[in-house]
């Protein structure tokens, strides 16, 4: 076990939080945002659907799925950038849990 700069660990935390914030902003726009303005979106047609209906039935959920995969992939990238080894995490994860 070696000591690392606290600054580096904080940068890791900050970077993850920044992405989380971006995901939540997009999440809010496609779900709550569209519902708030649903009345004025009914006349726009998209792939044969009224736009507000398309977002409620397909668009929002598709965005959620994309955001979660983006989170998983970008999360792995950030881990690598800070020298985190996934294999080592697995060993630690398997052994460090409270066992009772």
């Amino acid at each position: 076990m070696r000591k690392i700069e606290k600054r580096q660990a904080d940068a890791y935390f900050k970077e993850k939080n920044m992405y989380t914030l971006i995901y939540f902003i997009l999440w809010f726009i496609v779900s709550y945002g569209v519902v708030l303005f649903a009345d004025s979106l009914t006349d726009i047609t998209f792939l044969g659907f009224p736009f507000h209906y398309f977002m409620g039935a397909i668009g929002a959920l598709a965005t959620f799925i994309i955001l979660l995969f983006a989170n998983a992939i970008i999360g792995d990238k950030i881990d690598r950038k800070y020298g985190i080894d996934a294999k080592r995490n697995e060993e630690i994860g398997a052994n460090s849990t409270v066992d009772h």
Binding site: G48, Y53, G93
Partner: protein
């Protein structure tokens, strides 16, 4: 006894044999097998298990019908029951996994170093899971009962015995692999009928986009009839009720103990992240299809059933009219069935589709087996979380910390059997409709665990007094609003009982923060443990410094 009965029975028995076989093969031998499946479940399979755990009888049987009846307003369920996975995957699951406890109440108990908080959280888990399981059991009773033309009560008892058996044997390990099988069966059963309906109506084998034109055509039909268009927003409730319901379903998702505990079964924070992503894609397959089901069914009812001679309705309508799920009354006595003379129960849509699309006995049997899989897999997960709250959190952590592994497994198994039987007895005469019972469980989870866990993971200043006050106030406000809205007619901005979670969560966040700040900060050690959750497993936070394990 006709062919249909025999085919359905054989398919259901074959799937039951598969589930029991998997449970026996994966019998839990150690307590860690029983509660967290030995923590070695790969993310993609964990995603399927989360999907099966998540998609209940209400999702499988009821949701498409609810959307058909509510139109755009029903889409609050689609967005609400999926959007919560962002709360779960981004804010809670990886951190809870790193904390490394066995149950949700145990996290709360240890994070705040408080036995009363542990017991209170265990009680909330039992209340939420028990409420939810009543809905599941009565759902499976309806399926068994309708299929075999026996009383729904006998159907319920059959379901209860089966769930008690395989949950008690396999524990989480058995349940995980049973749920993987159940996911595959339920998703195949859900997709086949809707794909065929799409082919018949639009000549397109991909129902997920092809129903757009159907929606627009229905808008025209509605305008001709002089009723509000199918896709018109906020025709059944206010915009604020839509938003409140959506938030309650999302936050409730992130606060359901039986879903959270599925993230404890993987090895790392990284695996928790991937589990959430896989889970949502597997869940999405069903949720993308439900509005298509709704549109196709409504279109068929509007064009092929309404407008025809009462004496000359399509053959498939007869059995549904007999069960009372479809009511046709020629109110104006002209011998023709008008659209407004049709009354449709919402659980008819998925179950009747194979007959409407004329898909034959095998598919009808498969859909019944899929509905059973949805009800049983959710009930199984709920039973494990009830038993772990009792046997692990209350019995082992509080009553008898010296208990041996053997004793704890015995208590866990006995509590599963008792909880299942008790829920089964209540499900014989359920206190409300299935969707209503389920919505209450979500509201309670939103008012209790969602604020407690978000603050527990992200706010190191939170202390035991704050969490206890927050849980109690959240529970009281949520239950109070449900009762006031349902029985007293009291509403704010037109938000009814199903949206109660908004108020519960707001009150719980406020109480937790105010009480925590008014009382002494938690010990430094507990605060350090919270800071430690910011980093991946390899980084350890200790006394203001961060260490890397190589």
């Amino acid at each position: 006894m006709d062919t249909q009965f025999i085919v359905s029975l054989l398919i259901i028995l074959a799937t039951f044999a598969l589930y029991i076989g998997i449970a026996l093969y994966n019998t839990a031998r150690a307590t860690s097998d029983f509660y967290v499946a030995g923590r070695g479940v790969p993310p993609i399979f964990n995603g399927m298990a989360i999907g099966a755990d998540w998609m209940s009888a209400a999702s499988f049987i009821g949701m498409a019908g609810t959307i058909m009846l509510l139109g755009y307003d029903g889409l609050a369920y689609i967005m609400g029951w999926t959007g919560g996975y962002l709360f779960l995957t981004l804010l809670l699951a990886p951190q809870l996994r790193k904390y490394g406890r066995w149950t949700v109440p145990e996290f709360i108990g240890d994070r705040f170093n408080s036995k009363p908080a542990l017991v209170l959280a265990a009680a909330c888990t039992i209340i939420i899971s028990f409420t939810y399981s009543i809905g599941q059991l009565s759902g499976s009773g309806v399926v068994i009962g309708r299929l075999f033309e026996i009383d729904a009560k006998i159907g319920t008892m059959l379901g209860v015995v089966l769930i008690a058996f395989y949950a008690a044997f396999g524990g989480m390990k058995g349940i995980t692999w049973t749920q993987v099988a159940q996911y595959i069966i339920l998703i195949i059963a859900y997709l086949i009928p809707v794909i065929f309906m799409s082919l018949q109506l639009t000549n397109n084998p991909l129902p997920w986009l092809s129903y757009g034109e159907i929606i627009s055509q229905m808008g025209e039909l509605d305008r001709e009839l002089g009723i509000s268009e199918y896709f018109a927003p906020f025709t059944n409730s206010t915009k604020w009720q839509f938003l409140a319901l959506m938030f309650t379903l999302m936050a409730g998702t992130a606060g359901l103990p039986h879903v959270i505990v599925r993230f404890y079964t993987v090895t790392t924070m990284k695996a928790a992240r991937w589990s959430g992503a896989w889970a949502l894609i597997f869940i999405g397959l069903l949720y993308f299809s439900a509005p298509a089901y709704a549109a196709f069914s409504r279109f068929i009812l509007m064009t092929q059933v309404a407008g025809s001679q009462i004496a000359n309705l399509p053959a498939w309508t007869k059995s549904w009219v007999d069960t009372g799920k479809l009511q046709v009354a020629d109110q104006n006595g002209d011998g023709i069935l008008q659209w407004n003379e049709l009354i449709i129960a919402n659980d008819i849509v998925v179950m009747a589709t194979p007959e409407i699309a004329n898909l034959g006995v095998f598919v009808i049997g498969l859909v019944a087996a899929g509905a059973m899989a949805a009800a049983l897999s959710t009930a199984g997960g709920l039973m494990i979380s009830i038993s772990s709250s009792f046997a692990h959190d209350i019995y082992y952590r509080v009553i008898n910390p010296q208990a041996t592994e053997r004793q704890r497994l015995v208590v866990a198994r006995i509590s599963i059997v008792i909880a299942t039987l008790l829920a089964g007895v209540i499900a014989l005469d359920p206190p409300g409709a299935i969707t209503q019972i389920v919505a209450w469980a979500f509201a309670i989870a939103t008012g209790t665990f969602f604020p407690a866990l978000v603050l527990g993971v992200w706010w190191k200043r939170g202390n035991a007094q704050g969490i206890i006050a927050g849980l109690l106030v959240g529970l009281a406000v949520t239950l109070g609003y449900i009762f006031a809205a349902k029985y007293g007619g009291f509403t704010i901005f037109g938000i009814i009982d199903t949206g109660a979670g908004v108020f519960g969560a707001t009150a719980a966040f406020a109480t937790n923060i105010i009480v925590s700040l008014a009382t002494p900060a938690p010990p430094q050690k507990l605060q350090d443990e919270v800071i430690n959750l910011r980093y991946p497993e390899q980084m350890i936070y200790k006394d203001g410094d961060v260490y890397m394990k190589d």
